[in-house]
């Protein structure tokens, strides 16, 4: 019984070490656990599938910072690959200043994979201050929020933007975000301007968006690294890319760390009940 009591006083750095090993070992060993895409990842994927190639564009708002990169960047990249592979035009913008750098870097790498031309197949509008205001401005006229793209080129001189005025010309809006800005997209773009909104969020916040999924205010949801992994898997399965999966590899490590943390909780509770029992007067 003393064993459990001693165990509960262990230096936290031993726990840190175990967590580090639980991440490193699966990454090195490539367990390749089976994939089964979640229902809401599939719904978002299918929403993009239904958009006609070379027609109206999808708008993706990359509202995430490097702190959420491992979950959201693979998601963004997978969605960009999906759109460009299907020749679905793409408008990329961001309401997070650091999201601009990450999205720009991803586009710079992915566009050449599909021979996508800037201005014809995709545009990058960059960052704009004032989340809700920007979302509402796009609902009136995208030129109001973004008179130019991120590089200072007037929007009107970009061929694919010629027929795009507001959400009525954008069949799907996807917000990939690590903050509550997703709510603003649902409230303003969805409720006020009737845009179809999908989202990719950090796992931390995913549980909060289920009411929107259930009510149909969101067409689909990618939940953290699992959602990103699902999207990468679907892209590969449909032959849209052969690039190695980033989030997919990470899911092996997620599995092991989940088991480890569950083990910690069980051990901690055994120790707690043993200590409680010992403290009771005999």
């Amino acid at each position: 019984m003393k064993f459990f009591e001693k165990l509960s006083q262990i230096d936290r750095r031993w726990i840190f070490l175990l967590v580090a090993l639980a991440v490193i070992v699966p990454l090195l060993s490539r367990m390749g656990l089976p994939d089964k895409p979640g229902k809401y990842s599939l719904q978002l994927f299918e929403a993009v599938e239904r958009i006609q190639p070379n027609s109206q564009p999808v708008l993706i708002s990359a509202d995430y910072s490097p702190s959420m990169m491992p979950e959201l960047d693979p998601m963004f990249r997978a969605m960009v690959r999906h759109c460009l592979a299907r020749k679905v035009r793409l408008i990329v913008m961001t309401l997070d200043p650091t999201g601009a750098g990450l999205a720009e870097d991803a586009l710079r790498q992915i566009a050449p994979e599909y021979g996508a031309a800037y201005g014809r197949d995709y545009v990058f509008l960059g960052y704009k201050v004032g989340a809700a205001i920007v979302i509402m401005s796009i609902g009136e006229n995208i030129r109001q929020a973004y008179p130019t793209d991120a590089y200072g080129t007037p929007i009107d001189s970009l061929p694919m933007m010629a027929d795009v005025r507001n959400y009525a010309d954008i069949p799907l809006v996807v917000d990939i975000a690590g903050s509550a800005v997703i709510n603003s997209w649902v409230i303003f773009a969805g409720a006020r301007y009737k845009a179809r909104v999908g989202a990719g969020c950090t796992a931390v916040s995913s549980a909060d968006y289920y009411p929107f999924l259930q009510s149909g205010q969101m067409v689909g949801l990618l939940n953290g690294m699992k959602g990103a992994s699902d999207y990468e898997y679907l892209n590969q399965q449909r032959g849209y890319t052969s690039v190695p999966r980033v989030a997919g590899k990470g899911m092996d490590a997620v599995s092991i760390v989940h088991l480890l943390i569950m083990g910690f909780i069980v051990l901690g509770n055994i120790g707690y009940f043993v200590a409680k029992k010992n403290a009771q007067p005999k």
Partner: protein, 211 residues
């Protein structure tokens, strides 16, 4: 084995500087922390200048001042923020704040009621009365509806929680606990994912042990 790109080395060193905090607080971490704060602020400042002020204010003013001069009005109101640092006139900062609050409040009331209240209520009722969803579908719809009502009753503090309200609030707590448990389960994945991202970078881009 190790990367030959000096930038990758810098990224790895900065990552390790932050991770060094796990052992204990140290000067290596403190420098990285302060550098991070400064760089983030500078980065955001440049983005705001390049992507907001230049295209939305300066370009229109320089291109056609006669037509776009009214933009000077919001610019001047915005500039009042500077008076935060002039104690004698610091009250002037209340003007841009008031404009933001007035617009924000006015513009958000109707869509918030529509999204968070009406649409959610419609959906909850529709789900609880959807006979075509079949036995289990209807049962879960009714359960969800009960969950919503009991959760709301838990937050009803205008009356003392006793009698029927106590029973309802107690059931509400159970629903809330399931919700918090679900959030916890997802949070574990979220936090672990962030660590995996960094470790993947160190093992893939820096040490090249994963390809």
């Amino acid at each position: 084995m190790f990367s030959h790109d000096p930038w990758v080395w810098i990224a790895a060193i900065m990552t390790l500087a932050i991770f060094s905090f796990l052992y204990k607080e140290n000067w290596f971490y403190r420098i990285a922390e302060h550098l991070f704060v400064g760089m983030s602020a500078g980065y955001a400042m440049a983005r705001a200048w390049n992507n907001a002020l230049v295209p939305n204010l300066f370009n229109p003013l320089f291109a056609d001042f006669g037509r776009n001069w009214p933009l000077l009005i919001p610019a001047l109101i915005g500039l009042l923020y500077i008076f935060r640092f002039v104690p004698k006139f610091s009250h002037l900062i209340l003007i841009p704040i008031a404009v933001g609050l007035g617009l924000g409040s006015g513009l958000s009331i109707a869509p918030t009621i529509q999204t968070d209240i009406i649409k959610q209520m419609q959906s909850a009722i529709a789900d609880a009365s959807n006979v075509s969803a079949g036995g289990w579908g209807l049962a879960w719809g009714i359960l969800s509806f009960i969950g919503v009502l009991t959760t709301l009753s838990y937050f009803f503090f205008s009356r003392e929680h006793k009698g029927a309200l106590k029973v309802s609030a107690s059931i509400g707590i159970w629903f809330l606990m399931v919700g918090f448990g679900a959030s916890f389960g997802n949070t574990v994945m979220g936090r672990v994912s962030l660590l995996i991202g960094r470790v993947q970078f160190l093992l893939t881009d820096w040490i090249h042990v994963i390809r």
